[in-house]
Point group: C2
């Protein structure tokens, strides 16, 4: 597959016309061909309008056809893995195994949503039969989830496949019956173009409305803003920084007709190592946490960025282990030079406070290189300085040594929302620190016991989201089958002619959709 720097607008490749930008080599920082261009206002208009025009037909297409589309995109991703390995390697320095791993995750997400819509139970069909003999007569009411409308998806920098053009947001939106307009992340436009071409091909092959999928490139805030402000767009999915997510949420809220935004904006993913665990397993826990923090050079949303303990001998062992492991790790490329700049700037802000630097080797040779950092502070300082309770995106970990259990609890209470919270402890710790666990539970989307927060299993019980600023709306998850709920709304039909009802709600139920009938789940 050849790259030509094109947008994919409703099935057609279009050259860019706006401001130019390039992907950059993570090693040299030099531009990679081809040039990409921010989508023009006219291109944004046409992509969004085409999505709006496609919506009725795409939403009405049988679920089996939407599943077929998802499976076809998955198959194309599988077939074109060599192209993806080649380009992602240039744009982000990910090796072939990592690309293969992320591609497999992307494929599985697409297949998960295909299976979900084939099954049909996700629409939550409910039937409450009428009762003409009641006074007043009770009407027949039937409801199910229906797609909300075209979704604008913003690709993430850290997952060029799994949370980008054909990633979880796109898969769940298409599954729901929502056309998608993707704004690709400018750190990997070539990867976006490749995947955008594959998605466009799948739409065309299966005869779906052309506006079902579009890919726009863009680096300027105005490009994303125009997409979010477009009247045809009904919802927004985003994975990225707090500043980026907040800006899009503000645009969405300021529309004449505000629309929902699900932005997943990352976290420090606090880890609490409780006394018995610290006494028994400080080395093992330190090794485990360091390995977790070094995955993808700290660029996973669930990277552990804050580790808190009650001070004591175990804390020394944990500190020494973390220092050894993080100090020994070499600088390595982040996905983009802007990540390095942000990382080093945030690190400088934090190091201006009276924290102890236990490990940091400074910058690396590569343009995007980041070097793991381990900082330490006492609990009182962290309670005093809000900056220490905010994420440093990249391979940074802050070890917080609290005076006692009360200060550890106060630290937990001082935290804002996070995707995850982890406790290490034995059974007695979990009893003695039940209060702490309860506080952490209220701050996070997912609690982890005796493990690491990285490794987001794609399954029904996964929750990937959490209170602000982990996400813009803690009532939803970006991972797992329930991620589809972000893009659907309930609709009800009252006394509607059976033949004119959607298949899922007709009285006869030959396909045996799971439904709740007169209050009874079946």
């Amino acid at each position: 597959m050849a790259l030509s720097g094109q947008h994919w607008i409703a099935g057609r490749a279009e050259p860019g016309v706006g401001a130019a930008f390039h992907a950059a080599s993570p090693e040299t920082g030099l531009d990679l061909a081809p040039a990409y261009h921010d989508a023009s206002p006219d291109q944004i208009e046409r992509a969004a309008a085409a999505a709006g025009a496609a919506f009725p037909a795409f939403a009405a297409a049988p679920a089996a056809q939407r599943a077929q589309l998802l499976r076809r995109i998955a198959a194309l991703l599988r077939d074109h893995e060599p192209d993806l390995v080649a380009r992602i390697g240039q744009e982000t320095a990910f090796g072939a195994p990592r690309v293969a791993n992320e591609n497999l995750r992307t494929i599985r997400q697409l297949e998960l949503f295909a299976a979900l819509v084939e099954d049909g139970g996700w629409v939550e069909a409910r039937i409450d039969h009428g009762d003409p003999s009641r006074q007043p007569p009770r009407p027949d009411l039937r409801s199910m989830l229906v797609p909300i409308g075209p979704v604008a998806v913003f690709g993430a920098s850290n997952f060029p496949l799994a949370y980008s053009v054909a990633g979880g947001d796109t898969a769940s939106a298409l599954a729901a019956g929502c056309p998608v307009v993707v704004k690709g992340h400018p750190a990997h436009p070539g990867t976006s173009e490749l995947v955008g071409e594959l998605c466009s091909r799948a739409v065309r092959e299966l005869g779906m409305p052309a506006g079902t999928f579009s890919l726009l490139h863009g680096r300027l805030p105005a490009t994303g803003a125009a997409l979010v402000r477009h009247p045809a767009i009904a919802a927004v999915g985003f994975t990225g920084s707090l500043a980026g997510g907040r800006a899009l949420a503000d645009h969405a809220a300021a529309r004449p007709d505000p629309i929902p935004v699900f932005a997943e904006m990352g976290s420090m993913n606090p880890v609490f190592v409780l006394p018995n665990a610290l006494a028994a397993r400080a080395v093992a826990i330190g090794e485990q946490l360091a390995a977790s923090a070094l995955l993808a050079m700290g660029q996973f949303c669930t990277s552990p960025g804050l580790v808190a303990v009650v001070d004591g001998p175990g804390a020394d062992v944990l500190a020494a282990t973390l220092q050894q492991k993080l100090g020994a790790a070499a600088a390595a490329p982040a996905v983009h030079a802007s990540i390095r700049r942000g990382f080093e700037q945030a690190l400088a802000e934090v190091k201006a406070l009276p924290v102890t630097t236990l490990a940091w080797g400074g910058g690396g040779a590569a343009a995007t290189a980041v070097c793991p950092a381990l900082l330490a502070a006492d609990g009182a300082l962290v309670l005093r300085e809000p900056r220490l309770r905010h994420e440093i995106y990249g391979p940074a970990m802050l070890l917080v040594r609290c005076r006692d259990a009360a200060e550890l609890l106060a630290l937990a209470q001082s935290l804002h929302g996070h995707l995850t919270g982890t406790l290490h402890g034995d059974d007695r710790d979990f009893v003695a620190f039940a209060d702490l666990a309860a506080v952490v539970r209220r701050k996070v989307g997912r609690l982890v016991a005796n493990g690491v927060p990285t490794g987001v299993e794609v399954c029904g019980a996964m929750v990937h989201g959490g209170p602000w600023p982990a996400s813009t709306d803690a009532r939803f998850s970006a991972v797992g089958p329930t991620a589809i709920r972000r893009w659907v709304r309930p609709a009800a039909w009252q006394d509607w002619p059976d033949a004119a009802l959607p298949e899922e709600l007709r009285e006869a139920n030959p396909r045996r959709f799971r439904r709740v009938v007169d209050g009874v789940s079946g």
Copy 2:
């Protein structure tokens, strides 16, 4: 029960200290004692902070206790119906039967949510067992819905009981485990005080944390804004005007940590009378629609405000029937003088356009009196003038005569979101106008066939909400058991010790909660 103009803040009655206002007699417009006062910043602060302080304990209370609280409030409302009848009659001119009817609805809503939390299935417990033999090992993941935090509830003017202090928003929030701070509607502060005292009594009797419930009075926008902006408030429920709901949504979106708002802001509830139905039943349909529009003097959110037909002889019959029925209806009190002012102002705006006034008797003697209005316009005018596609709150109906089926479809396409959309037709109409039905479906929360939009059945399949401006977030319903979803978020536990899990997620399931285990619903 005596009224003294007090707020109820975390279980204590407090006199007002801010700007004074009074309820007004709907007949004379004169002030009713006692005086009420906008809650002071300090009172708002204490009510919200108390809700925040109550949240952990209230959220952790067994579901049976929350159900008990709801049932106790319901019982107190039943016991004190005479007090409610007396005061509501003074404040809003509702007769005893209407108050009894609304009180019964309020009681049933409380009991519905009590039953829901007793059953426990609503938490959507999911268990995905781990697999230590997988590489990497698959963790054990369990999730369920948990309360989001304290909810600010804004009472509605049109339902002093069912959508006010102990109405659907409060019932669903308390059921979820969220403390509630109500801002009572200034049109019926005495009713609010009565119900606020009953709620406070129930909280006290059952030993719930005092901050579980507070009632604040207020008429000034700043009072509601301060409540929505308070850091302890995690979500907002509102029923009222588009301007009011929009203002609160803007405040919520502008917080350092934006919070979700569910505002139900009313609708024109368009009705399409299709050709065969019009030919066969124009008189009956006209009578039915007029009766629906006159319920509560057009102050139900689902009042039919726009009736569209393809022009022809049937349209003349329908127009004549509506004219006769609406023209014969006498002026009668709205809930508040401000409703009359808004109604007459909106009517004047619309009458400045080239519409035909088929019925309107002008004002009435009572201070709050509104007189039913029937206006008519051709489809082209309505397509040209957006004002004609916006609600006139009160007993106004616009009959739109379209040139042909294509113009009827164009009219449907031009509409914004509404709570409901109604089609009258026979089986052939539903086939011939399937396109129209599909367009209307995308614009509304609930479709009605051959009926009226008023009469919001409280049941599982009910959807009371819809695309903007019917509500701020079409993904939720304000009525029925799913209304609880507005106030909850999913939380996951990974490899968590069984004994430390919530009861709903422990491996043994002696109470037989409905759960999805390894993908299988049980």
